[in-house]
Amino acid sequence: MPEPWELGAEEIAQRVAARELSAAEVVASALDRTARVEPLVAAYLAVYDEEARAAAAELDSRLAAGEPAGRLAGVPIVLKDNLSLAGKPLTCGSKILAGYVAPYTATAVERLLAEGAVVLGRANMDEFAMGSSTENSAYAKTRNPWDLARVPGGSSGGPAAAVAAGSAALGFGSDTGGSVRQPAALCGVVGVKPTWGRVSRYGLVAFASSTDQIGPVARGVRDAALALSVVAGPDPRDSTCAARPGEDYLAGIEEGVRGLRVGILREVDPGALAPAAQRNWSASLELLARAGAEPVEVSVPSLGAAIAVYYVIATSEASANLARFDGVRYGRRAEAESLLDLYLRSRSEGFGAEVKRRIMLGTFALSSGYYEAYYGRARGVLEGMRRQVEAAFQEVDLLVTPTAPGGAFALGEKVDDPLAMYLSDIFTTPASLLGLPAVAVPSGADDEGLPLSLQIMGRPFDEATVFRAARAFEREAGWRVAPAFRGAEAAPAPAG
C-alpha cells in the first residue's frame, strides 16, 4: 500500500472525494516526506506546515458536511515564489523583494484553492525567473533529487525538485523561455508551458510579458492535464488572457497517437546533444512511431536563431518590467539623499548579477542607435520563424524536439558563463516566442541515471492533442519518478 505522498494528484482527489483518505492524512504524509527530503534538496523557501494542516482539516470537515469535493481535493501543491498568495511573502528569489507580502492572490492560485488544493509552501527559483539552474536565487541552492551535486534546472527549479522528490503532488511555475519545461526535464517529471493567453497571469510577477505563462509540474501526464484544466480559462482581471473557455484535458487524453502526424525538425542537430541524449532522442522517435504516430520531417530554417531572438526580446521586456522595482512603492529601499540616488542604490543593492546583466542587455537592445539593429532585427527574425512554423503546422499536428540538450549539469558548472547557460534553452525558447503549447515528458535516463526528456509542441490552444501524445509516449516509455538522491549519506526511500 503506497504512502499518501506517493500518490498522484488525480488519485488523491478521487480518494479524498470518496472519503477513503482524508485530506489531513495526505497533507501530513506530504509534510513528513518534505521534512525528510528538504534537508537534501532545499526546494522550498518556506513550508506552510500549520496552515496546510489547518486547510486540510477544514476541507475534511466540509466534505463530512456533504459539500462537493473539488477536482484537486486534498492535493498538496507547491508554488513558485513569483505566484501571489495573499498574506504570504513573495520574493521572486530576489533580495529586492525581501519583506514584500502579497496583497492579493493570483487567479491561477485562487482556482487551485477553489478546487481543494492545499498549498504546502513557496518554492525556490532563479531571481525574477532569470536562469536555467536556480543558482541565481538570492536565498538557497536547490539540488537535483536524482543527484545532489547537480542543478534542478531553472528557473522553476524549486517546484520541479519538490515534485520529483515526492514532497508535493503538483508544482506551479512560470515559463518564459523554458522555465517550467527545462527543470521538469532535468528532474524527471512532466512540465507544461500552455499557449500564451491560456492561463491568467494576474498575480504572477512579470518578466517578459510577450512569453510569460503559468504552467504545472507533475509526476505524470494525466496529473499535469488535470492541473492545467483547473487553472486555464478566461479572467477579467488579465486582458491578455484569452476569452476561450477552459477545457477538460483529461477527456480525450487516452486516445493515443495513431494517425497523428508528428513533425521532426530537420534543424535539430543530434551532434549538439550529449551522446546519451542523442541515443535517447532516436529512441524517443522510434517509440512515437511504435505508438502509431506518423513521423514527418519538416524544416524551420530560423530555429537556430531562437536563443539570440529570445535573449533580445525577453531582456528588452524585462528591462521595462523590472523598472518598477525602484525602492519607492515596495521592496528594499536603500538610504539615499535624492530620488535618483534612491533608485540607483536600491536597484544596485537589491538585484543580483544575472538580473543586472539582463536589464543591461535589454536596455542596450532598446537604446537609441541600437534599437533597429537588435530589437527590430530580432522581431523580424521571429516573424520569419513564425511563418515557417505555421507552414510546418500545415503538414503536421505536433512538433517534437528534445527538451534539453542533455541531463542535469553540475552545480557551478555554467554559473560563470552566462552564454553557455542560455544555450540550455535552445529547444524550449521557440514555443515561448511563438506562444505555442508544449509539454516536457520524461523519455528515459542517460548513462549516469539522470533523466532526459522529450518536448512535444502543438498548435496554439491545441493542448488537448499535445497531452494526448505526451500520455501515449509516457505509457510506452514506462518512466518511474524515483529519484536516487545520489550523494546523500542516507537516501530517503523512493516511491514504491
Binding site: 535624492s338 543586472k356 516573424e383
Partner: protein, 95 residues
C-alpha cells in the same frame, strides 16, 4: 568583442543601475560575448512583423472596486497619510 567601459556605464545609467568597477569590467566582457552571439541574427531571414500593438482587451471594461489602499501601502518602505514618501527629487534638504 567586449563592450567598452564607457558603453557599460552609459547602459547602466539608462538602466538606473550603479555598478562597481569589478562589475563594469565583468559585464563588459560578458555582455560583449552575448552581443557577438546575437550578431548571428544578421544571417537569418527577416519579415516585417505586424505593427506592435497591445492586444485588444477581450473582457468588458467595467469599473470594479479595488483593494484597499492600506493593503498596498503596507508594503511601502515609507508612507505618510496614505501617500508614499520619497527623498526630494532635487537632492538633500527637500525630503
Amino acid at each position: 568583442m567586449p563592450l567598452t567601459l564607457d558603453e557599460v556605464r552609459k547602459i547602466a545609467s539608462l538602466a538606473r543601475l550603479r555598478l562597481s568597477p569589478e562589475e563594469e569590467s565583468l559585464f563588459a566582457g560578458q555582455l560583449g560575448a552575448i552581443v557577438d552571439y546575437i550578431g548571428q541574427l544578421a544571417h537569418y531571414e527577416t519579415i516585417d512583423p505586424p505593427p506592435a500593438a497591445a492586444p485588444a482587451p477581450e473582457a468588458a471594461d467595467i469599473p470594479q472596486p479595488s483593494l484597499p489602499r492600506e493593503l498596498f501601502l503596507a508594503n511601502a518602505p515609507s508612507a505618510l497619510d496614505g501617500l508614499l514618501l520619497v527623498p526630494g527629487v532635487m537632492g538633500s534638504g527637500d525630503a
